[in-house]
């Protein structure tokens, strides 16, 4: 493979027998063979670039591109103090996604313009959590993770509270920023947008990163809790 390598040493098999003229031809053919190896190596690298680019395409995509604002419905759909299941069509779909493109989420209307929109996926391993209004708990059927009504971890294997979608209220409708399956890694990768910096600061100042206390009436974007 190494193009700078000198001619094969004389002790190589088959180099001793041929006559002088043949020997010259042989060493030329060996050189050409090595040249062909180098050429094929180069072609292989050129070929590998588009193949790897195609293969790694989904992983190299900027995740911020995948989230967009989705309307969940008019505010009147969400009575104060209740937590309801809402389905939305994922903004990024293919035409052969079928039902898998429909994503559910839990909308908790705290009061006024204060909401919490939780992902359906348990923070443990992504199973669908169910809301029990009477005991005010989200329960996961897979490994028994439990969360309080504000999404914070109550018990079980999850390390953290439920994932929260950023929301805003526009023209009397509740909108969330969604598009990507929430996982621990997606949460880590998400950089808060400009609109979220203020909310972050408020939360940090309040000293609680976990729950949206719901006292302020301002529409605001709740970042995914730490």
């Amino acid at each position: 493979m190494n193009p700078i390598e000198p001619l094969p040493p004389a002790d190589g098999p088959g180099t001793a027998e041929p006559a002088n003229s043949q020997s010259a031809g042989h060493s030329r053919r060996v050189f050409l063979f090595k040249l062909s190896l180098v050429l094929n190596g180069a072609v292989g690298i050129v070929l590998a670039i588009p193949i790897l680019g195609y293969l790694l395409g989904p992983a190299l995509k900027k995740s911020s591109n995948e989230d967009s604002w989705i309307k969940l419905g008019p505010l009147s759909d969400f009575p104060e103090g209740e937590t309801r299941l809402v389905n939305f069509r994922n903004p990024v779909t293919t035409s052969w996604d079928g039902q898998t493109g429909d994503i559910p989420c839990w909308v908790r209307h705290i009061s006024g313009n204060s909401f919490q929109v939780f992902a359906i996926n348990c923070a443990h391993l992504g199973c669908p959590v169910r809301w029990f209004a009477q005991s005010k708990l989200f329960l996961c059927p897979c490994h028994g993770g439990a969360y309080y009504e504000d999404g914070s971890r109550a018990s079980g294997p999850p390390e953290r509270g439920l994932f929260v979608y950023t929301y805003r209220i526009s023209a009397g409708a509740l909108m969330i920023s969604a598009g990507k399956m929430p996982t621990l890694a997606a949460h880590n990768c998400t950089k808060p947008g400009l609109t979220q910096i203020q909310a972050n600061a408020t939360l940090t100042a309040a000293g609680t990163a976990e729950s949206n206390s719901g006292e302020d009436a301002q529409p605001r974007n709740t970042p995914w809790p730490a």
């Binding site: 779909t93 029990f132 890694a185």
Partner: protein, 505 residues
């Protein structure tokens, strides 16, 4: 007649002159093996190969109908089950074949481990075998995804959630696994490619290598206690043994393989006819959240382990344990390539197999009835036993209602009905005092959520009063320290013990 026979030989020779495959094949089939290897213990590898062929054939037949798109896959499985003649049987054969494959491969692994077959000169055969095991499990998992139902959808969610925990590159890895931002069309397509092209291709190549090495190095001779493997002498000893006691593999040893393979195929067919195909369960629609996803049999033990690991240990164990286990399996023949082969002189090996088998079995059993999962409908479906309500005060009966309405039964059983996540409440008052019960209900702890926000004071009082009646025939729990405080406060010691519980008297 003779001319017909001659003609057949001529036809054979015509091909043989051009192919040259007949002679080496016959030679390989008839190669001499030590007579002690003609054993019913030596049939699992060939059985696994036969099941692999069955899986390839049934898999191709299923692919004639299966539609590998997220919107159509589930429907095409239903179509196979109900509208294609014998489609259900082919699905059942492929599904049961997969379970048998995993089981036979594991038995094969345990057998060659206990017989010391991984020792010199068959180290690489074992190492390739470890990869074959991983590929077999990969086929089982990707196959479960292709059965694109609720379990498959949420199984992918579990897979993505596990992958997302990989340090630094978790996010891109999830995208790579799902092929997009969510579990959807591209996800199923790439698992189809893995299950149908990528993994089978590698699998077949490695099976070829595995078999080639078995032929080249000879089948492992039956281990004898005290006959040690030494790299200097083993090859010569093996050749002497094969020369002295050698029998042609075909037919003298192979008939046992053939009979066992036939029995296994019959067993798969019997299971397929009797139990039918696996699912599909509900449609892969994430908006149907009334589901309790579960993996296939081979992965139930992982599902159970994930329920029992403490949260802080989960991520490290998920990524360090597999590396250690697989690494140990790969290094095993290189570290202990010589020495004793017989199981009776290798207590650690026997013990390891026993411990691993019992562990996997226990976790699989737990995975079958998931005691850690809340029973989501227990609060409406499981009534309080009538006996527990007999002769109770109105307050206590109100407490029983609170117990039902607040979904306590989803995690706690009474009279054997209800969830098993928390302790059964039948005799709770014999173990906990009133104060302890109040504290536990309101503040939670020990894996129980706090109900302070979900119960108002009167509900709490009623609930606790009902719980205090639940003690079977046992005496109520007594707060010993409280008794001491009370007795020291009074100048005259009380003559009779004062239970701190209000219920009895």
């Amino acid at each position: 007649m003779a001319s017909l026979k001659q003609r057949s030989i001529d036809v054979y020779n015509w091909f043989e002159r051009r192919l040259g495959l007949g002679a080496p094949t016959i030679e390989a089939a008839e190669h001499e093996v030590p007579s002690n290897t003609s054993s019913w213990w030596y049939v699992f590898g060939s059985a696994a190969t036969v099941i692999l062929l069955l899986q390839i054939v049934t898999g191709i037949l299923l692919a004639l109908v299966y539609a590998p798109t997220a919107s159509q896959a589930w429907g095409s499985l239903e179509f196979l089950d109900h509208s294609v003649k014998l489609g259900w049987f082919l699905r059942a054969m492929h599904g049961w074949g997969s379970d048998f494959m995993v089981a036979i491969v594991l038995i094969h692994l345990a057998q060659v481990f206990l017989f010391g077959a991984y020792k010199f000169p068959r180290e690489l055969t074992w190492i390739v075998g470890v990869f074959l095991l991983l590929l077999t499990l990969g086929m089982a998992f990707t196959g479960q995804v292709l059965r694109f139902d609720q379990d498959a959808y949420w199984g992918l969610g579990i897979g993505a959630s596990i992958v997302s925990r990989v340090p630094f590159v978790g996010g891109p890895l999830v995208d790579l696994m799902l092929g997009g931002p969510i579990i959807a069309g591209p996800t199923l397509s790439r698992f189809f490619a893995l299950h149908v092209f990528v993994i089978p291709g590698i699998l077949l190549g490695l099976v070829g290598l595995h078999l080639w090495m078995v032929l080249r190095l000879g089948i492992n001779d039956w281990p004898m206690p005290g006959r040690l493997v030494s790299k200097k002498t083993y090859i010569q000893e093996y050749h002497d043994l094969a020369k002295k006691t050698g029998i042609p593999f075909v037919p003298d040893a192979a008939w046992k393989d053939a009979i066992f393979a036939a029995a296994i195929l019959l067993a798969i067919m019997a299971c397929a006819v009797w139990f039918g195909p696996f699912g599909p369960t509900g449609q892969p629609d994430p908006t149907i959240i009334e589901t309790a996803p579960k993996p296939d049999f081979a992965f139930l033990w992982i599902y159970a382990v994930l329920a029992y690991l403490p949260p802080s240990l989960e991520t490290p164990v998920l990524f360090i344990a597999p590396i250690l286990v697989i690494g140990a399996m790969l290094l095993l023949p290189l570290v202990s390539g010589e020495g004793e082969k017989h199981w009776s002189r290798r207590p650690v090996a026997v013990l390891s197999i026993a411990v691993i088998a019992v562990t996997l079995g226990a976790f699989t059993r737990l995975g079958m009835y998931t005691p850690w999962s809340p029973v989501m409908n227990a609060w409406t479906s499981d009534p309080i036993p009538a006996l527990d309500l007999k002769d109770r005060t109105p307050l206590e009966r109100e407490g029983a209602l609170v117990l039902q309405n607040k979904q306590c039964r989803n995690c706690h059983s009474i009279g054997g009905a209800g969830g098993m996540r928390g302790p059964a409440l039948d005799t709770i008052a014999s173990r906990m005092t009133e104060d302890q019960i109040i504290r536990q209900v309101l503040q939670g702890g020990g894996n129980m959520p706090a109900y302070g926000n979900a119960l108002n004071p009167s509900e709490t009082t009623a609930l606790v009063h009902f719980l205090l009646t639940l003690r079977g025939n046992l005496s109520p729990a007594i707060d010993a320290s409280r008794k001491m405080v009370l007795s020291s406060e009074q100048s005259t010691p009380p003559t009779s013990p004062r239970p701190s519980l209000p219920d009895g008297r």
